[in-house]
Symmetry: C4
Subunit: 204 residues, 4 copies
């Protein structure tokens, strides 16, 4: 598999999934009695969904940036990379469904937990892909050796989504904000991230 | 980030967003009593939406052309460019939602204002991206220096969408026509645009 | 505009439009009283839509092949080509809407006429694009000179769709079959097409 | 037709079809009486559809991998390859419709049989494309000669889908599981497949 076509397919799925998100946002139907048929009120009431839209768009967008950085260093696309990349794309492509759930059920505890679960599965799939791709970057190594390059950077997503899912039990809005903050964290330039949590280690 | 993969992802989102627009157009359900089950009448009654569809398609299409021209001159895709490009794509990908609003609420004041707001946000995002990309084209410069290359060309969108939003209060149709005219303006070849408003300055 | 990025964007819109078609096909809701909840019957009753789906898919697919062949010979993507290509893509991207109309109104006269109208507009847009691109292939020439390379090949679409639209008044099914035959005609290898209608002229 | 643009278009349709699948999954509407408005229960009840989603995603994804491997060896994209590739893409792009059927009719016999039929048509289209592309890889040969490179690998899909369709009459779930197993079989690295059924022949 040439890296070119591999990247083109992955870019395609990332780009499509991110653009489909908006199809699951729905303005309420017009209500003839209200001023403006209830449009302004309806659009304003959707604000938690705009936040979810932005968080999801940013999460996929930034994952695409990191996916690109990862495969810039990968020497050869192995068959295992192909399969686990498909798994990651399957999870990423599932995100619009979680927007549909939030669209239908609003900012409720269950919907936000489900949203966090999908984010968590995306994070885990990316972690597994990173692990599988690792030998073609750093040479063959043991399972333990893999964790020697494990950094805060790799953990923030897991911890963040887990905290968000737990918080959603008490405040669904807080859960969504945590998911958005994870995206913001990964969007920070590497230098800033190092200042925040790993000033002395070289960034992986 | 290689310019190639950056452009491929951006092209993908532009192409998908523009093609999804049509999914938010809906013909009314058949009404058995009417001749032709009301189809011809229903299709003709949608004409303002065809105008919005054409204006939106043209706006994204022409923004894609200008996006391409901009990055043709960009020497290096910096991290800041990546992030603000994602912001622009997030706004562009939001446009189908504004078609849905117009589809549900018709050519009403609120729906056209909302449509103009999305166009304005797209315009602002493009302006910010242009500002962020500017140093890699013209070398480092001050915030003030950035505005030395600011031309009519850059202002027409902001002014046009603002005027359209204000006009929509009095005539929603006029608002849509203004948005379409903005797209037409940016579609004019550079030479024609210079004749119209900047005959003596070299076009940036 | 580099030909590469121009082609990538066009390919993207063709590929997306063709893949979105299926989203406008809808199986009827389950009807609990019927055996199999009415599924088999419902799926079989959709057969005219499968034909429309196939005709539309083939039309876009084959237009993409011809689009490719055309731009293989185009030396330079001019601004006019960019704009009229956008117009063609706008028409192509509109096709899913015409499937929605057929989905809702069935194989009725009005729906098939509308479908033919969209096909005709796509054909005209392609003709205009071909005209605009012509000078970069054959060198500058007059409007009359353009028609010296006009062949049966260029006319079949216009004639076919026009005949289909007229026939739809008497038999909607006949209209759809004509549209499908136009796609079949353009799908025939050049050699076969020459045998059919232009045995002595070199194929343009 | 350059192989590049041919592959870009095919990759596009594969990537879009696979990403659209999720749009046909629908969570049931909220039911105010139930705890959590019925969300958790509704999401859990969808489990057969998650399985179908995963099987469909994997089937298209792995077909894309094999499509890539096939065309890596194809020297020249002939006109016949173009047309039969379009046929394959038309079948692949139809898969979201079969998810819609399963979404509406649940894990019923008819819906699963229909799903298997689509998979079977995809498999047949791929087989025909492979046959058409074969001469540009192995040189011209007879119809019989084509079958000298026919292996278990090529047959598993046909047999699997056929068995799945028959099994669906007795247990719809068993049918879906068989379709998923076919995807798993094609996802196994070539080495494993050889161990399973063709230890002595070189893999085509």
């Amino acid at each position: 598999m040439s890296k070119n076509r591999f990247e083109a397919f992955s870019d395609g799925v990332f780009a499509i999934a991110v653009t489909l998100l908006v199809l699951e946002l729905h303005v309420p139907d017009p209500r003839p009695g209200l001023p403006d048929a209830g449009l302004t009120q309806g659009l304003l009431a959707l604000w938690p969904l705009y936040l979810v839209y932005a968080a999801s768009f940013a999460t996929i967008g930034i994952m695409w940036i990191n996916h690109h950085a990862l495969f810039h260093n990968v020497a050869r696309v192995t068959y295992a990379i192909l399969l686990f990349n498909l798994l990651l794309l399957m999870m990423v492509a599932f995100l619009p469904f979680s927007i549909e759930v939030l669209s239908k059920f609003g900012l409720s505890r269950g919907a936000v937990e489900f949203n966090g679960l999908i984010f968590l599965l995306i994070g885990i799939s990316y972690g597994v892909l990173y692990y599988v791709a690792s030998p073609t970057i750093h040479g063959p190594r043991t399972f333990a050796g893999y964790f020697t390059t494990w950094t805060w950077w790799n953990s923030v997503g897991f911890i963040g989504y887990f905290v968000g899912i737990v918080l959603a039990r008490f405040s669904p809005l807080a859960g969504i904000i945590i998911y958005a903050l994870v995206a913001v964290y990964y969007a920070l330039p590497a230098a800033t991230r190092q200042l925040l949590n790993e000033p002395s280690k070289p960034q992986g």
